[in-house]
């Protein structure tokens, strides 16, 4: 059972990423979208890397570049098409907004 977690908010502003980190399980996938992109610099992301494989943390390309943010090398940048595919490659999805 794999769940896709979409995080749309900044963890510097509210608790979505924190609550996601509480219940994310090892086989799950995390995609940072919208203001979720700001979490690339948040320490909670380090906690999550201790639970899920770093290859299962992704960020939407134009959402991160529009915000002028740098993406660490180990984080995969994906397109909206790839996000749609991930939706059907996993069993269910939680939107953290």
């Amino acid at each position: 059972m794999t769940t896709l977690h979409l995080v749309r908010q900044s963890a510097f502003n509210s608790q979505e990423l924190f609550q996601c980190s509480q219940i994310i399980l090892p086989a799950d996938i995390l995609v940072l979208i919208d203001d979720g992109c700001y979490n690339l610099n948040h320490t909670l992301l380090t906690n999550i890397k201790n639970i899920i494989s770093v290859k299962n943390i992704k960020v939407i390309q134009h959402h991160v570049s529009a915000r002028g943010l740098n993406v660490p090398e180990f984080i995969e940048v994906i397109s909206m098409n790839e996000l749609v595919n991930l939706t059907f490659d996993t069993e269910n999805v939680i939107t953290w907004q």
Binding site: R8, N81, V84, N85, T87, F88, N92, T95, Q97
Partner: protein, 127 residues
């Protein structure tokens, strides 16, 4: 074929709804069957013809109408959420058409429709 339902809870003025529309366009391009879009909470403002967005800004409502025309998407408006936010949703249709402010492309629905969508869809995504 993969079946998708989408729940829209963000208002047209937020960039969050641009993301929702981009996601739906990507899904359609990938031949995903979209069984319906359900507008809830502040998402119902997408159907309001009185909402005026400056012409040089993102026109979410025009996007929905174009998607409806091209792909015959079902756009369901939650009646309870809509009447709380200033949409005139007289289900008896007794109001003069020109005095209603619900865009024609949207169907007045209840939460029962959400039950149908979640039963029929393989995935439900909330934006």
């Amino acid at each position: 074929m993969n079946k998708l339902a989408v729940i829209i809870t963000s208002p047209p003025s937020s960039n969050l709804s641009v993301t929702a529309i981009e996601y739906i366009e990507a899904a359609l391009a990938l031949q995903i069957e979209i069984v319906g879009i359900f507008f809830y909470q502040d998402g119902v403002l997408h159907a309001n013809t009185f909402v005026e967005v400056p012409t040089d800004e993102y026109q979410a409502q025009a996007k929905w109408l174009a998607l409806k025309n091209e792909f015959n998407l079902s756009l369901h408006l939650c009646v309870t959420a809509a009447s709380k936010r200033g949409l005139q949703v007289d289900e008896t249709n007794s109001v003069e058409p020109q005095s209603s402010n619900v865009a024609d492309a949207f169907e007045i629905s209840g939460l029962g429709e959400l039950v149908e969508l979640t039963n029929y869809a393989d995935r439900v995504i909330q934006f």
